[in-house]
């Protein structure tokens, strides 16, 4: 497995793999993250898994670059050599209900047009695919899910929206996601999910975590409303 190790600013180190994202790579990154947390302990303030990267943030003045680089090098090799990284700590698939309807999805009609398919086909393709959670971030509880059916591949809006409502189910490139809270955003909105994805009072506070399997399930307006969905 080809990878590079380099700095991310003055207090973080970044490990980047030169291979396309895959659940296998993500599981390796997650295992590396846990190993790093145990090894560096308090010196490590944060660690973030990306599609093909792991970024380790150190508390100021505690980063010893050469040592971290050498440790990463060694640990990556030993983990990727050891048989399949902990083949999926088989968590159940998270099922998220989605109301696919132009009333809550401003891009649904134009997108179906652009892709040359009916709204039904579009939403069936979106809900038929099982997704894998590759990364969290951007906003609390936001989870990058892949991989979209290639027939749904679509560019982002050229001008992002100032305001995307909480619960918006959106797609961009080959990814899909649910916006957990209101935020700006450039992805195309194709539905609305009435489930709260981020709640500081809950444990865990985020419904989705990296490594999860996720599936969307189409619901009708009545179910959407009964689950607390707003039009």
């Amino acid at each position: 497995m080809a990878f590079t190790i380099g700095p991310a600013g003055d207090t973080a180190m970044r490990l980047s793999f030169q291979e396309p994202p895959s659940p296998r790579l993500t599981r390796l990154l997650l295992q590396l993250q846990r190993t790093a947390q145990d090894y560096f302990f308090n010196a490590l303030s944060d660690s973030v898994v990306g599609y093909a990267t792991l970024t380790l943030f150190f508390t100021p003045l505690s980063l010893q670059r050469d040592q971290v680089a050498a440790w990463l090098e060694k640990t990556v090799r030993s983990l990727s050599d050891s048989q399949e990284t902990q083949a999926a700590h088989s968590k159940e698939t998270v099922v998220l209900p989605v109301f696919y309807d132009p009333a809550v999805a401003p891009d649904l009609v134009t997108l179906a047009d652009d892709l040359g398919m009916t709204i039904d086909t579009l939403t069936t393709l979106h809900s038929a695919t099982p997704y894998f959670a590759y990364a969290t971030g951007f906003a609390p509880g936001f989870c990058y899910l892949g991989t979209l059916d290639p027939r749904l591949k679509t560019p982002r809006l050229s001008t992002p929206r100032q305001r995307v409502p909480a619960g918006a189910v959106a797609i961009a490139d080959q990814q899909t996601a649910v916006y957990p809270c209101e935020s700006p955003g450039g992805w195309r909105i194709i539905g609305a999910c009435p489930v709260t994805l981020f709640d500081l009072a809950a444990t865990p506070f985020s419904t989705l975590a990296v490594g999860d399997s996720v599936r969307f399930e189409a619901i009708d307006e009545q179910t959407y409303r009964s689950l607390g969905g707003q039009l």
Partner: protein
């Protein structure tokens, strides 16, 4: 309960401390004071511990009244201070009696001033920090920017210790024609066109009015990367993000934790602070430095701060 009422809350005032660690993976930015030096200076004046919060004020224009007598100090961007109608100096302890009014005018230079009150602000900490992340609605008084007539609870203030009392002179505001931002190359540095890197290192940029706690957008020769987006990965403070329009954005305390735009490197923390206090129109140049140089600068500045605070 001792409180401080903001008769006028100002443009973008938030409660901030050093920020929160350990939850970047959940998509929550660290937040924290844009000018940690000014925060530290005020904590030192009042004999506060390093975790105590202050009200971060952007561009002044705040008026506040306490419920009880209290000691306070204002650090950071220098502004005119009035207690009732009497002018008092910044960066030294003032006593404000119950019902008196403190007015903080617009700063003459810089952007962020910090109002520290003895005993600190006693809002509910979230993940060990009182810092406000308005985008996420986390921390501070009610998760957002302070509003007119907000009443902020104060901690039980011991009188400030005599040996402190004056701002140790920590300052992040620099009057320079061109502010140099040192950055550590990394991320996609090697993958970007040499001509683009040359422009980044050689040309002048300017701070635009699109500057806030999330990031500072610069204007200059467009840095066209030809890259629309990359696989999302963690961003770090100071990351120089180049969106398709070619105007770089230096990511600050409330940055989004993940990004998919090319990043040639990240500005070192000490220069992020100078950038935070730089106003629109300030000329900027970038200078690459090695990670080792960045470490040396950090150690030297750490030593400088520690000796000033003795």
């Amino acid at each position: 309960m001792r409180t401080l009422t903001l008769d006028k809350a100002g443009l973008a005032s938030t409660i901030q401390d050093g920020g929160r660690l350990g939850i970047l993976h959940a998509g929550i930015a660290a937040a924290g004071a844009m000018d940690p030096l000014a925060l530290k200076a005020g904590q030192h004046c009042l004999g506060h511990h390093a975790g105590e919060a202050a009200i971060e004020i952007a561009y002044g224009n705040v008026r506040a009244t306490p419920s009880h007598d209290c000691a306070l100090v204002v650090t950071g961007a220098p502004a005119m201070l009035l207690i009732d109608n009497e002018s008092v100096p910044m960066r030294s302890i003032q006593t404000l009696s119950a019902g008196q009014t403190l007015t903080i005018g617009p700063p003459s230079e810089g952007i962020y001033s910090y109002l520290h009150v003895s005993g600190g602000f006693n809002t509910h900490p979230i993940f060990n920090s009182r810092s406000t992340s308005p985008r996420e609605g986390i921390g501070g008084l009610h998760g957002g920017y302070l509003r007119d007539q907000d009443t902020v609870p104060l901690g039980d203030g011991a009188p400030p210790i005599d040996t402190c009392g004056a701002d140790p002179g920590l300052c992040s505001i620099e009057q320079r024609d061109v502010l140099t931002l040192r950055y550590v190359p990394g991320y996609q540095y090697d993958e970007l066109a040499p001509a683009l890197i040359q422009r980044l290192n050689g040309d002048h940029f300017e701070v635009t009015s699109k500057a806030n706690r999330m990031g500072v957008t610069l204007n200059g020769p467009p840095l066209k990367t030809g890259v629309e987006s990359l696989l999302s990965e963690a961003t770090c403070q100071g990351a120089i993000q180049i969106p398709p329009d070619g105007n770089p954005i230096v990511l600050m305390k409330d940055r989004q934790t993940m990004g998919g735009y090319p990043i040639p490197g990240a500005v070192i923390e000490s220069d992020c602070v100078r950038l935070a206090q730089a106003r629109p129109g300030q000329k900027i140049r970038f200078a690459a430095c090695t990670p080792q140089e960045a470490d040396n600068i950090r150690w030297l500045e750490h030593h400088y701060v520690e000796t000033r605070l003795r």
